[in-house]
């Protein structure tokens, strides 16, 4: 690892030199299209641009993608490689917004000055202010005489901790007389209402083989979508989740081993207070609501707190702590992937192709830790790291904690997991962020012996 000439993790080799693109393009890399369109805007957007004149990465992520190209509404603009006609559209949309983008740049200058004036050093200015600046540009045009006052208001707004505001509303609600007793009655009733049926699970699990196969061609994808729709409609995922409370032996995995609960059988969660363990399905109902509020920061309106609490009681009682069938089925697919992941094990081979693909990436990522002298031969290089390295060995647990948190968010906001390719991307993306989190902890354990304690914090941040 010291001098890595024979790094086994490397497969793609490339040669040296320059290439002159002579052929007529039929497709173009998305980011190259955006870069070119950006340069076409000309002067006036320097603060949103990098040293080479292209847009900053955050300009793309926080302004162009969500607000100018509006990828949610126009998913066709989001492919990494764009067909040429789509590339031209993207180009035109960006250039067509040149006035708003110039005004955005001016607002960013104004907000940055305000940031200095108010001595704010928290948060990434680009990340936080770019969307605000674009909004100001659209609603007010370029900064006018009142710019300074407008900027200060906008800054106070951004930094005023909306989660605290929402948290306060929640605190007031649960402090009101009768709130907790009513919720407790509901919790008791809902928990008893959930009973497993008698379906056999074999068909469902063998269906997952199709879901977790190679990505395949168009026909394979269509077939996979049909299987997924059938699995979602199947009541097996409900029954498996319900059995974990009564007959855990009838569930193919141990909830404790996969880290969803700290006790078996799964207990009814508390309404409030310190829960028995720190696993996702141990958490008290009110804490789950609090997590929802924290994640709701990017949303325009605050959810209705009483409604959210009542819903969360039912959700906490639902099998897997999730209401929608597609969420439950996705979590099971995630469990099947998770038990195959072992980032530190070189010889490990996974049963499902999708899991094997994720495992291969985890291995490469773990290799970087070796190359950086953060790990030695798959073990801690410093005794301080023991705990985090142990966590990495049971990767299924942080992986499933994070997957559960994502599904919980989708369940709350009624976003769907009906599209199988989206589900596969989710299973993959969760592995990426869980791995990054674990690796950053391993690195941090080495770097700052006397620095701030990051461990607990990293554990609780389940994006």
């Amino acid at each position: 690892v010291l001098v890595d000439e024979t790094a086994s993790a490397y497969h793609h080799r490339m040669s040296i030199g320059f290439e002159v693109a002579a052929e007529v393009a039929v497709a173009r890399p998305r980011r190259a299209v955006i870069d070119e369109a950006w340069r076409r805007i000309g002067p006036g957007v320097e603060v949103l641009s990098g040293g080479d004149g292209g847009p900053l990465r955050r300009t793309v992520k926080r302004i162009l993608d969500p607000l100018v190209l509006r990828l949610r509404a126009n998913p066709q603009y989001s492919a990494p490689i764009l067909p040429i006609d789509m590339a031209n559209e993207v180009h035109d949309v960006i250039v067509g917004h040149r006035d708003q983008l110039r005004a955005t740049a001016q607002w960013f200058e104004t907000l940055k000055k305000g940031r200095r004036r108010l001595r704010i050093t928290t948060g990434n200015a680009q990340e936080l202010y770019f969307p605000v600046c674009y909004e100001l540009a659209v609603t007010r045009g370029a900064p006018a005489a009142d710019a300074e006052a407008v900027a200060d208001t906008a800054l106070r707004d951004v930094h005023s901790d909306r989660d605290r505001t929402a948290g306060a509303v929640l605190d007031r609600y649960i402090a009101a007389p009768d709130t907790l007793s009513a919720l407790a009655r509901q919790l008791d009733r809902s928990w008893r209402d959930v009973r497993p049926g008698t379906t056999i699970t074999g068909a469902f699990l063998s269906g997952l083989t199709t879901i977790l196969a190679e990505s395949g061609d168009h026909r394979a994808r269509a077939a996979r979508q049909r299987v997924w729709s059938a699995l979602v409609a199947d009541d097996t995922s409900f029954n498996l989740g319900a059995r974990a409370r009564q007959n855990p032996a009838e569930v193919p995995w141990s909830f404790v081993d996969i880290g969803l609960t700290s006790l078996e059988p799964q207990h009814c969660p508390d309404l409030i207070g310190k829960s028995v363990g720190d696993r996702p399905l141990d958490r008290a109902v009110v804490d789950r609501v609090r997590a929802t509020l924290r994640r709701a920061l990017d949303r325009d309106e605050l959810p209705d707190i009483p409604l959210l609490c009542a819903e969360e009681v039912d959700r906490a009682c639902a099998p897997w702590g999730l209401i929608a069938e597609d969420m439950q089925a996705t979590l099971i697919a995630g469990v099947e992937v998770a038990v195959e992941l072992s980032p530190l094990d070189e010889t490990h081979s996974a049963r499902y192709p999708l899991a094997a693909q994720i495992q291969a990436r985890l291995r490469k990522e773990a290799y970087v830790l070796h190359a950086r002298r953060c790990l030695a031969a798959g073990t801690p290089i410093h005794p301080r790291q023991q705990q985090v390295v142990d966590d990495l060995r049971v990767f299924r647990r942080p992986y499933l904690s994070r997957l559960w948190a994502r599904l919980h968010g989708r369940d709350v906001w009624q976003e769907s997991c009906a599209d199988v390719e989206d589900v596969r991307a989710l299973l993959d993306g969760v592995a990426r962020s869980a791995s990054l989190d674990q690796r950053q902890r391993i690195k941090a354990m080495l770097a700052n012996a006397d620095g701030p304690q990051m461990t607990g914090q990293a554990m609780s941040v389940a994006r």
Binding site: A21, A25, R28, K364
Partner: protein, 355 residues
């Protein structure tokens, strides 16, 4: 040396100026690829990796050329991260340590320059985490009045201004540094120059003065211990079997000034006797040996034992040859003797201190 960019890991051989190997972890996230291989190259790679037949396939990408200039800054970043981990600082060999704060500051500034290559999701993206703890040390360096240091720190302050500090405990330090760097007068009153010399912390030679049954020396494999703790020279650990230590083996390592080796494992293999222990804060420990049945070696057993094949491992056992370490030392020496265009300021200052 490696660099983790969005969707890929790039790697270079440390003392070779060639093009990187690019290993994709997720080609669809490698939205920077056209900057390196051109637009048509990017499209080709995307097509080839669109439907992967298996997790470890090698794709022959003949006809795609890497633009070395485009990756020069990435190579330099990979080098910076490598220096943090592997720079063979040694009192015994006379290889100056690199200043961590200045090195991290320069890596942070470089990472910001190359931000097109980093999403929020790579191990090497987080510059706030990298540089936040260093404000106090950087203030100290700024007072030295070295214009190169001031320029670097100024850029770093601007960067932090934009990205925010990683943790609120560092906020005050950054306010102070920010004010210091904008206050030209304060910079005109240099304090004492950078400390160029330091004393050996734990000595060798203190191991077995009298009554040693057997003694020996050994080397520490760098890959098995954390960076910055032990002197990176060869033969820096001494062991001795002492009659007055109940057959225990006293192990002493050479620790870098200010470093804390506590808790690092030591394993002694003396053929039929083995034992393990952990180092104390002074880099020393006594290892009790026993046979396969766990029976402790006796005084007479120790006298009778043939200690000639004894080996001592500090840290995790890893496969690393002295030749590799030598190659890295000569690489480091050549960088100190003649800092190249890719030299980091921390290296240049180390070279000057050396002189």
């Amino acid at each position: 040396m490696v660099l983790e960019v969005s969707g890929a890991v790039m790697s270079w051989t440390i003392d070779d100026q060639g093009a990187p190997r690019i290993d994709f972890t997720d080609p669809s996230r490698a939205d920077w690829l056209w900057r390196v291989v051109g637009e048509s190259g990017h499209v080709k790679v995307a097509t080839a990796t669109d439907t992967p037949p298996g997790p470890s396939q090698t794709i022959d990408l003949d006809g795609i050329d890497v633009a070395v200039d485009a990756v020069a800054v990435l190579r330099r970043l990979a080098l910076g991260h490598w220096l943090r981990a592997w720079w063979p600082a040694s009192v015994l060999d006379g290889i100056e340590p690199l200043d961590t704060a200045l090195l991290d500051a320069e890596i942070a500034v470089l990472t910001a320059t190359a931000q097109d290559f980093f999403g929020d999701d790579t191990l090497d993206s987080d510059v706030a985490e990298l540089v936040s703890p260093h404000a106090a040390t950087l203030s100290y360096h700024v007072r030295s009045g070295d214009p190169r240091v001031i320029e670097l720190v100024r850029r770093c302050v601007e960067l932090i201004d934009e990205i925010g500090v990683d943790h609120s405990v560092y906020e005050e330090d950054w306010f102070d540094l920010s004010e210091l760097i904008t206050d030209a007068a304060a910079l005109d009153t240099p304090v004492a120059a950078r400390q160029g010399d330091y004393a050996l912390a734990a000595g060798n030679g203190a191991v077995g003065p009298t009554g040693a049954i057997a003694t020996g020396v050994g080397s520490i494999a760098w890959g098995g211990v954390p960076a910055g703790i032990f002197d990176a020279a060869e033969a820096t650990l001494e062991w001795s079997v002492r009659a007055d230590a109940d057959g225990g083996v006293v192990v002493a390592t050479t620790v870098m000034p200010g470093a804390d080796p506590s808790g690092i494992a030591v394993f002694v293999d003396a053929g039929s006797f083995t034992g393990s222990a952990t180092l104390g804060p002074d880099g020393r420990t006594t290892v009790d040996l026993g046979d396969v049945n766990g029976v402790r070696v006796t005084d007479s057993g120790a006298w009778a034992h043939d200690w000639s094949g004894t080996s001592v491992t500090v840290g995790v056992p890893v496969d690393e040859t002295p030749a590799i370490r030598d190659r890295v030392r000569s690489f480091a020496r050549s960088r100190l003797t003649e800092p190249g265009p890719d030299a980091f300021l921390a290296e240049i200052l180390a070279a000057e201190a050396d002189y």
